[in-house]
Amino acid sequence: MEIVKESDTHKKLQDYFRKSREKAGASRKTFLTKILGNNNLGDIFFERLTLLFAVLVFLLIIFMGWEMYSHSILSIRKFGWGFITSTTWDPYSQVFGALPMIYGTLVSSFLGLIIAVPLGIGVAIFLAELAPSWLEKPLSFLTELLAGIPSVIYGLWGIFVLVPWLRDTVEPFLQNEFPNSFLFQGAPYGFGMLAAAIILSIMVLPIISSISRDILKSVPNSQREAAYALGATKWEVTKIILSYAKSGLLGAVILGLGRAIGETMAVTMVIGNRPQISTSLLDPGYTMASLIANEFTEAASELYLNSLIELALVLFVITIIINIFARLLVWSTERKWKLSPI
């Protein structure tokens, strides 16, 4: 009895497969297949389409770079490499050197990361490994909420809360404690590199922590079990998990860095906007993004405008270099063990 039933279903299935194969065969005769060649229309179409998108993105990047290059040709001819090595940015006498802005962008971003990375990864460890589940959901939500706040609001908070606090409390304290340190020279304005770094760290914290949390959560449970079963403490298990996840965590940090380098509004509101290089964290500085945003409407001469666009080009190239470098770094940590058969 049962055997008959089974072979019935079997036959039906076979029929079904045969029919669907015939259908696919029929569609093969359409003219599109002739253009695209191969047998499976859907796959080929999908493959070509996605390839097209990928090429488009690549072309877009090349195109943007070329556009910026051609619109900054005046300043490129006039200043040459001096544009990125000179420290004078003086629109009045038409001298444009970008080094203070390059310095300000890199230093504020790195300082921001130095604060944000340990905090962000710490938050991620807490959320992914230690927090009880009733606490994890609301806390994750809150950290992600931080990422959605418009940067001008961070800027306002910076002006009205952070800067006065730095000026009246933190900076005098630092100068008292370390009177001879080159990091804390000059008048404590509040506005300056330190304020920018702190604002940036708060802004990239949610990016780093939420991505890191996802990465830690995606580490297979079997790794945790292996460590616990060997008699590892919670901290030791966490170390093993971190080392498993390190290339992903590195990726999270790079994304944070990208955000910090490009951030414009909040930084320009607190960094002091002075094109100078100073080792003191209390001194004002300037970043490429803020200078472009601030001065673009005032650029009266062709050379001025060209210099601003060249500055944008420099920012663009630096971002690309950092991203390539980061990719290589992530690959090199991955490559060591991703070849495994299981």
């Binding site: 079990e225 060997l230 093993i240 063990w337």
Partner: protein, 269 residues
């Protein structure tokens, strides 16, 4: 007191009287829960020292959960237990789990070496956790344990490669080496050969045979032949209950329960 409690519980199986020799672990009226679901129901069993106990039963009957409660790994999966598990006169719930798990090692169904560590460091991972750092001694231990795990010849030239660069069967033997390197007293194995080919399986079975000279072993398996080959005693679980606990030979020739017979002859499960 305890004995009286034990007798009171209805579902304590009336075990066939056996001479178990020295009892290493005594499980008394163990129940395990995930949330409110009771997945182990009042199980009592004595685990003899330096013998192999096989646990069999259909999928989902609680074998893994039972095994994990012995070294408190159920806590990692947020399970809870009631009842008592006594190892060498100590209640496991009163021992620091970190210490307990160094005494009771565990091998999992899916090989789980640490991919970021070399083969060498995988073997000594547990020792390093204990703060053991003497390079020369570590080298000796690695060689000794890998030989014990029948893996040395295959990996002796690639000790610096990632632990994940081995084949599945080699990875599993690496995990066994990692477990015995810390010199535990008990080894729990949860279907250690289920993902392996017949040759690797045979190697692991030989290994278990060797290991029982020094270690108390509890092994969960779906493979009846395997249970019959490697174990001295067998426990049959069904729906969270211990149905029969018997000498392996008797279990597979003359089981005392109808359910056991049906299961091992493949009539259900």
């Amino acid at each position: 007191m305890e004995i009286i409690e034990q007798v009171k519980t209805e579902s304590v199986p009336k075990n066939i009287p056996m001479d178990l020799g020295h009892v290493k672990i005594s499980v008394q009226d163990l129940s395990a829960f995930f949330g409110k679901t009771k997945v182990i129901k009042n199980v009592s069993i004595d685990i003899p020292e330096k013998k192999v106990l096989a646990i069999i039963g259909p999928s989902g009957c609680g074998k893994s959960t039972f095994l994990r409660s012995i070294n408190r790994m159920h806590e990692v999966a947020r399970g809870t237990i009631t009842g008592k598990i006594i190892i060498d006169d100590e209640d496991v719930m009163k021992i620091d789990p970190v210490y307990l798990r160094r005494k009771i090692g565990m091998v999992f169904q899916k090989p789980n070496p640490f991919p970021t560590m070399s083969v060498f460091n995988n073997v000594v991972a547990g020792l390093k956790l204990n703060g053991f750092r003497n390079r020369k001694a570590l080298k000796e231990i690695v060689e000794k344990t890998l030989k014990q795990a029948a893996l040395w010849d295959e990996v002796k030239d690639m000790l610096n490669k990632s632990g994940a660069a081995l084949s599945g069967g080699q990875q599993q033997r690496l995990c066994i080496a990692r477990t015995i390197a810390v010199n535990p007293e008990v080894i729990l194995m949860d279907e250690p050969a289920s993902a392996l080919d017949p040759i690797s399986t045979a190697k692991i079975e030989e290994l278990i045979f060797e290991l029982k000279k020094d270690y108390t072993i509890v092994i969960v398996t779906h493979n009846m032949q395997q249970a019959a080959r490697v174990s001295d005693y067998t426990a049959f679980f069904y729906m969270g209950e211990l149905v029969e606990f018997n000498d392996t030979k008797k279990m597979f020739t003359a089981p005392s329960k109808k359910q056991t017979e049906d299961y091992i002859t493949g009539r259900f499960g």
